[in-house]
């Protein structure tokens, strides 16, 4: 545990990517393989270990320290990090007591103090947790709390871990990224295998997803200037679903999320359809929730809210399967007849995709074409000029898509978010001026600063909430608003402050969705603050009617 604790605090102390990679590489070189396997999984944000609920932890800390639970909550609201709050509240351990646990490695510590109590009764859990508290010094305690509550948040991405491991193994970072897909090494043997200098194809692992960048200038003239001749680009709709990969190998088909999670159970109909693909096929595409029209009616898109009812499930009830059917719309073919074809030009890959996946999703939406399959390829949006493409992009909102994807016809399927070949040409967000009604202290760098805002618009003569927004302001603005929030607090409900409406924020969003949480009965999607409208007063803010009119 000591080596991992040191690793954590070293990573925490630097913001330099290069330094983080160096620190990680040094750790992986020296670490016991079982510990290293554990560390990779934890750092890549693999499955949460969570053995106890955070409310239990809070309660036990309250009992151990004799502090009332509300004071633990107030402390958490101020510190903005539960693992740290609990560590700061607990009495200091005797440094000598750290020995037994710090000598145990990460894997053993996790086994003994976390895995061992999954499913145990509360009394046992409590005993193990409190005994661990007494053994660990505060520095290790924070790290251990992060492990037991899931989520390390130390500014290390899977990409950085892959870069460090690639350095240790002496392979390309892209190869290492591929080896880390699907959760990371399970044990010492798998960790050793990951470090192998020889590249072998893995049976089930998905490929690292290639991501597009947003165009900085969205107007047609700038896009044309930036990207050159329109015919060198392939355009598709940017679907509002969930990116995924189908990996069809000899034995079975698997479905993977962009986060590297296996999501077969949530989408049984997709798995069934994928089984019809020839072995040695890997498709990159988008999961979408659709409604099947009656009779000859075309399919219609149900949107992301519906899809989120399906994703993340271990088991899908029959009714949900019928209410929210899902489809897989393939963009790209990464593996064909057992060969990795990512380096081939997009045009080539696309041609092969069209023979493998004959049904075009565009036809399904245009209908009437009742279809048995739920496996489609994405329709292309064709245009001879940028202006024409811009007109098509203008249809996006009506079509329920987020804009266009532009991919260079000659491009390979890369890794990560390399700029230049794949672009998102999104539609302009909708905007409304909304009033700050509640504020709550933030987390991490914004700990103790009121930086999470609930915003509202007018419904007649009252303000109703429509969104919670966290980002978009500068640090200086947040500090200033924090002062205003404190000075205009009407009421406090735990960490939430209700303020006199004085501040108006320009809010960008992508659409509206029904909401039981917000008083307006609806919530805006992907809300973010564009800027603070110091020039506006609450009475100048938008109304619910404005919002409905926009969508």
């Amino acid at each position: 545990m000591k080596a991992f604790t040191d690793l954590y605090w070293q990573l925490d102390a630097t913001t330099s990517t290069q330094q983080k990679v160096a620190i990680l590489a040094e750790y992986f070189r020296a670490a016991d393989h079982a510990d290293a396997a554990c560390a990779v999984r934890v750092l890549c944000g693999g499955r949460r270990l969570r053995a106890v609920s955070t409310s239990q932890l809070r309660q036990w800390v309250a009992e151990e320290t004799g502090l009332p639970e509300w004071l633990v909550e107030e402390s958490y609201a101020h510190v903005g990090d539960l693992a740290e709050t609990l560590s700061l509240l607990l009495p200091n351990a005797e440094p000598a007591n750290d020995e037994p646990v710090s000598e145990a490695g990460l894997a053993e510590t996790i086994d003994r103090t976390i895995h061992a109590i999954v499913g145990a009764d509360d009394a046992t859990k409590r005993e193990v947790v409190t005994a661990t508290w007494r053994r660990l010094v505060p520095q290790s305690r924070i790290v251990w709390h992060k492990l037991i509550t899931g989520g390390l948040r130390v500014g290390v991405s899977r990409t950085l871990v892959a870069r460090a491991l690639a350095e240790v193994a002496g392979v390309e970072p892209a190869v290492m990224t591929h080896r880390l897909m699907g959760g990371g090494p399970a044990d010492a043997a798998e960790f050793a295998a990951i470090l192998s200098p020889i590249t072998t194809a893995d049976d089930r692992r998905p490929y690292p997803f290639f991501l597009a960048s947003s165009l900085e200038q969205n107007d047609t003239a700038s896009v044309a200037e930036e990207l050159g001749c329109v015919t060198t680009w392939q355009a598709e709709w940017k679907w509002d679903g969930m990116r995924a990969q189908i990996v069809r190998r000899v034995d079975d088909a698997t479905l993977w999320s962009r986060g590297g999670e296996l999501i077969n159970e949530a989408f049984p109909e997709i798995i069934a359809a994928a089984a019809t693909l020839p072995p040695g096929t890997v498709l990159d595409g988008e999961l979408l929730a659709v409604g099947h029209g009656a009779g000859d009616e075309p399919m219609l898109l149900l949107g992301f809210t519906a899809l989120s009812r399906r994703s993340g499930r271990r088991q899908v009830p029959r009714k949900l399967l019928a209410d929210v059917p899902c489809v897989f719309v393939a963009y790209d073919l990464l593996e064909h007849e057992g060969h990795d074809i990512r380096a081939l030009p997009l045009d080539d890959r696309r041609r092969r995709l069209e023979t493998l996946v004959p049904s075009c999703f565009g036809d399904a939406l245009a209908g009437p074409s009742p279809t048995e399959t739920c496996l489609f390829r994405s329709p292309l949006v064709t245009a001879d000029a940028w202006d024409e493409l811009a007109t098509r992009r203008g249809e996006s909102r009506e079509r329920g898509v987020e804009g266009l994807m532009l991919k260079r016809r000659t491009s390979a399927y890369g890794t990560g978010r390399a700029r230049g070949d794949w672009w998102k040409w999104k539609i302009e967000p909708l905007e409304i001026d909304a009033v700050l009604l509640y504020a709550q202290a933030g987390h991490g760098r914004r700990a103790g600063l009121h930086s999470d805002y609930t915003l509202g618009v007018w419904d007649g003569d009252r303000l109703v909430t429509i969104a919670k927004a966290y980002s978009g302001l500068t640090d200086e603005e947040i500090i200033e608003i924090d002062g205003i929030v404190k000075a205009t607090t009407i009421e406090k409900h735990g960490p939430v402050r209700i303020c006199t409406p004085t501040l108006v924020m320009q809010l960008a969003f992508e659409g509206i969705a029904p909401s039981s949480r917000h008083k307006a009965g609806l919530a805006v999607r992907f809300p973010r603050i564009v800027r603070w409208r110091r020039d506006k007063k609450p009475e100048d803010a938008g109304t619910l009617a404005d919002l409905r009119r926009m969508v």
Binding site: D12, W70, S75, R445, G483, A487
Partner: protein, 353 residues
């Protein structure tokens, strides 16, 4: 019977004695707990402070201010109200104000800490009926490490920087913490150098008889002062200014109680942080409140809502008292209670409508 002390537009007022304690507006007679900007405003007709704090208050209030003093524990009658000043342990000359009238005793702590500090007299509990306490760090997450531990952490850091040929710059309030750090560290490691704002107060401390190691003033437009061996003590406001460039390669650290919390540390974006405060930590506040034996507690600047609720949970008569003191209250104000912020320290955390 009206309360002996009450908050008015001008500050904490004693009607029976017709004087203010740390007023935030110009008044005829001000009793001052200590010379930080949010407690001592210029422009009052007469000031009364503890004797060791006079040179410090003089540097803040200017040469013409009328400053009277009391020795610690010495009493004086102001319009029939008995007033005495008692060590608060916050900075040099800091005092708790004891006010007694018709058999009732109130104590106003100003800012205070319980830990030992070589540059000022140690906090002394004063029994009273009503205790007005600060609550800057009134959350249980704030528990200070032993000052000697912090001193050795600073020494280790300074020595490592010196060996690497890097100047050590430590950011701390010009009044109090800067001098405390100078007195805490091991002067054998290298030269100690101070910013002009700190130096002015170093001189005031020396004038009051506080022993400090040799400290050099930074000469204007100098290059590589201290040759990469020095410990530079400066107010937080120098961060991000060209002033820092005259030391060549340097490592910058902040010394503050807020540095307990990682999120606040990260926000300050300095490489190193030391947990060092001139305020009481949570256990310190509780200890002082208990030692006062007061039956009624009024909680000012900081976490006044939280601390008073906690005290009420424990069966005490406690409630928040809104004032305009800021203490070390805002972790984001680079120089709260610093002399550079003297012109306007209004708008602090504790202001509620």
């Amino acid at each position: 019977m009206p309360d002996l002390l009450e908050v008015t537009d001008s500050g904490l007022y004693c009607a029976a004695g017709d004087f203010y304690i740390d007023p935030w507006r110009r008044v005829a007679r001000a009793v001052i707990t200590h010379a930080h900007a949010d407690h001592a405003r210029s422009g009052c007709d007469r000031y009364l402070c503890a004797a060791p704090g006079k040179p410090v208050l003089r540097t803040r209030m200017g040469g013409n201010a009328v400053i009277e003093t009391l020795r610690y524990r010495e009493t004086r009658s102001i319009n029939g109200v008995t007033v005495s000043l008692h060590p608060a342990g916050h900075v040099l000359g800091s005092a708790q104000v004891r006010v007694e009238h018709r058999g009732e005793t109130w104590v106003v702590t100003g800012d205070y800490k319980l830990a030992a500090d070589p540059t000022c007299a140690t906090f002394e509990p004063v029994p009273c009926d009503v205790f007005i306490t600060e609550s800057t760090f009134g959350l249980p997450v704030y528990r200070w490490p032993d000052p000697s531990t912090v001193a050795s952490q600073i020494n280790v850091w300074w020595r490592a920087n010196r060996d690497a040929g890097r100047t050590s710059v430590i950011l701390a309030y010009a009044l109090g913490k800067a001098q405390r750090i100078a007195a805490m560290v091991d002067p054998e490691i290298g030269p100690i150098v101070a910013h002009g704002a700190v130096m002015k107060l170093v001189e005031a401390y020396r004038a009051s008889g506080v022993r400090l190691p040799s400290i050099d003033r930074v000469p204007p437009r100098a290059r590589r002062v201290g040759g990469g061996r020095a410990l530079v003590i400066a107010p937080p406001s120098v961060l991000g200014t060209p002033w820092l460039t005259m030391f060549g390669e340097s490592a910058v650290a902040v010394a503050s109680g807020w540095m307990t919390v990682r999120g606040i540390r990260r926000r300050r974006s300095v490489e190193h942080a030391f947990v060092l405060s001139d305020h009481a930590d949570f256990p310190g506040l509780l200890a002082a409140i208990e030692a006062s034996r007061a039956s009624r507690i009024l909680v000012t600047h900081g976490f006044s809502d939280v601390l008073s609720r906690f005290l009420r949970d424990r069966g005490l008569d406690a409630r928040p008292l809104a004032t305009r003191f800021t203490g070390e209250a805002s972790p984001d104000a680079a120089d709260a209670a610093d002399d550079d912020a003297e012109s306007d320290a209004d708008g602090g955390e504790a202001v509620l409508p």
